[in-house]
Symmetry: C2
Subunit: 448 residues, 2 copies
């Protein structure tokens, strides 16, 4: 795709509406219709032309969606939207990494029409291919809503921080996990109890695994990393750990030590290799991420000239998602579109994969051990032998009632900075000891 | 200015460098050179073409600036940059609302060249005229660095939040004030003591009035308000109050009540009128602005669909400012430029001015009164008579030694939500009382 140096004065006036074909009329698709209705005149002023939905497609034509969709042309097969003369840009709200969403994306871009989506799973798996297709056809692939909902982080990284060599990008990328962890902390409840309640309230899916196992956060992280480091998306190499193993006792100990536990997605470039990881993480109270509560999302980008940029806001829901989708439509209407991943795909680097086991940082360890003399000496010797130095240690005099083995006590430690492989070696040694009542728990600390 | 619907496939390839003429080689101008040198290859990948400085202008040709400027063409009169064939875009780092900066801006835009600036004073006073000139000539006026330094808030409002009717925009817009207030709180020092130290350390100017009297924050606020509300810039109508009157005792009392004092710039649209104010403000600990410390800046935008967006980062300094300037240059190189204030100037509304005295909110009041029986009854009666209801009150049994009159005691109150004019009436009554030892102090609370 080529770009004009500056748009010449002679560019013809375009005051015709930008016509949108909308595929998918769930909560978010209906939210896009509601937003375009509510703020039509404002959007026309900002885009210098109206933005109107002309045709829609969804599974069930008859369903009441709270917005009037009878005024739009209806197509049963979403792919038709790509070929209609009354559609300039397709908004895809179907979801799923493959299947109808991907078919529609390819058809739309092949037809030379702009494609706007919130589909992080599809981008994580097929983003590079779609970006190349958009480039070849001289059209736009836009996806602000795919990461962190209404927060303009794609724009913030792609354009706002574009002058910087970014050292790392990280954040709280899944509102369901942050909601669960926040409630576990505030109400001293277990993961299972909060999850069940969140499902009842509609804050978590019936099958919550995409969220609580970290997959959704990893999809988003892979997109952020590609933009931040000018790299090809590499979802497959992300080390992913969800929040199922986070116990109330860990949250409690972390608080005592000055931390809050958050599910953090983190990417950095280490010696030309891409380091990408999603994991529960102890965040110090002084870090702005520690204060991102409930279902909010937040992204931090650290650049060599700008320093630390922090963005937060609502990461999901009909309103914030529609806000991001329509922001993309306004960019398209204004003609302010360029390469999907901040640079032409041919310039994206194929970075190697950093070995996360070689990562150096501080770690939180929780061991559940038999309550008898000499155990602490055994533990500390095992850590010393593995070269792991202890920064702080908590052992309370209470026995543990909720572990499978029963009768143990918790020993909680924070290490000094050390290679992860060394900690893993020490933990293997400890797990094999007959002093261990339950498997050890290890979590990362946010060190920066 | 007209926009292409979508950039057609036939747009010619432009791989020639974007050539920059740089006016002003102070800390920030030199920072732009340093950044373009340090990240040249990365910027070329992101912009799909090199961005190079070709010509520069500054007051003193011989000065050592820590970057090599001998390789650039030198012009004594910055205005020449507008007319050179080897300059595509002019970056203005001269400063000042009028004078050479304004002459250069007009010459550059008139010549049909893009103009990038960090000059908030010039934009606050002449932004509308310059935006209209850019539109008429089909070129770009870009100014990300003018507000909140490296934080991409102009882009965040202009594009990221463009789908929303914004209800308000506010933030911490002056790093010098935030640094002074943060140190006053942390070290329990007076304004004068911290200011003197900040001047010694180079964090405050020899003449600090632009910063500490709120003028700089107001310049930035006027720009944010124009973008947020689609309104013509109206700097003249901003109610401005700086931080000179904030006393250590106010910071201390605010902390007791659960607040931190920040200089906040706030704009909202009230019944079609523009409400704009810069003032010291008590921010509740639960609000993200309360955790913005030291010289950091932060901006909050609240939209009808997106909810609350929060941006923070470094608001000044060579690195962050250069980051924003070069982000603008990358936008220009990519051809992703549109109307300076988010919509064509003809579509910007000329809003009326909201009467800030009619504002309803909670207030912090500090009264210094004689330590004798009946005074508290007199005060509370005066407030009752003015219709002001008290939410909390602190009177400590210690006499005040640092007031002019001497011998008084402080009575500190937070009101329930009330019209500002009612509070002002009560304060006038109290100030006239012979119980008053020193003038009353009133500050706003951030209520949302």
């Amino acid at each position: 795709m080529k770009y004009a140096k500056l748009r010449p004065e002679s560019t013809p006036s375009v005051t015709a509406p930008l016509c949108v074909g909308l595929a998918g009329l769930g909560t978010v698709g209906a939210g896009v219709v509601a937003l375009l209705d509510a703020n039509a005149s404002l959007i026309e002023r900002r885009a210098d032309r109206p933005i109107v939905v002309t045709a829609v497609s969804a599974r069930d034509r008859g369903r009441d969606r709270g917005v009037d969709t009878a005024r739009f042309a209806w197509v049963d097969d979403a792919t038709e939207l790509a070929h209609r003369d009354d559609v300039d840009v397709v908004v895809e709200m179907i979801g799923g990494s493959d299947g109808p969403a991907l078919v529609l994306a390819k058809a739309t871009l092949t037809a030379g029409k702009a494609f706007v989506t919130a589909n992080k799973a599809m981008l994580a798996h097929h983003g590079l291919e779609l970006a190349a297709l958009a480039e070849a056809r001289g059209t736009a692939l836009k996806y602000e809503a795919a990461v962190a909902g209404g927060i303009p982080v794609i724009k913030g990284l792609r354009e706002g921080a574009a002058a910087n060599r970014l050292t790392r990008v990280y954040g709280i990328l899944n509102g369901t996990c942050n909601y669960i962890l926040s409630r576990m902390e505030a109400e001293k409840l277990s993961f299972d109890a909060v999850l069940a309640d969140a499902q009842r309230l509609g804050f978590a899916e019936a099958d919550p695994s995409f969220d609580v196992d970290g997959i959704d956060a990893a999809h988003k992280l892979s997109i952020l990393a590609a933009i931040a480091f000018g790299a090809r998306i590499d979802f497959a190499s992300i080390a992913i750990e969800g929040i199922r193993a986070v116990a109330a006792v860990d949250i409690d100990h972390a608080a005592t030590l000055g931390f809050r536990i958050k599910l953090v997605g983190l990417a950095s470039e280490v010696d030309g290799a891409l380091f990408q990881r999603v994991h529960p993480c102890l965040v110090p109270h002084a870090h702005p991420l520690a204060h991102v509560d409930g279902s909010l999302n937040a992204v931090v980008a650290e650049g060599d000239f700008v320093g630390r940029l922090f963005f937060s806001g609502r990461g999901a829901g009909a309103g914030p998602t529609a806000s991001a989708v329509v922001a993309d439509l306004i960019d398209v209407a204004r003609g302010e579109v360029g390469p999907a991943f901040a640079m032409p795909t041919a310039r994206l680097a194929a970075l190697g994969v950093a070995d996360t086991a070689e990562h150096v940082g501080r770690f939180y360890l929780r061991l559940t051990v038999a309550d008898r003399p000499g155990v602490l000496a055994e533990l500390t010797a095992a850590l010393r032998d593995a070269g792991v130095s202890i920064e702080s240690l908590i052992q309370r005099g209470t026995t543990v009632s909720d572990t499978a083995g029963g009768g143990g006590v918790y020993v909680v430690m924070v290490t000094h900075a050390v290679r992860q492989s060394a900690v893993a070696a020490a933990l293997r040694h400890m797990a094999a000891s007959d002093s261990a009542v339950a498997p050890p728990v290890m979590m990362h600390l946010l060190d920066f």
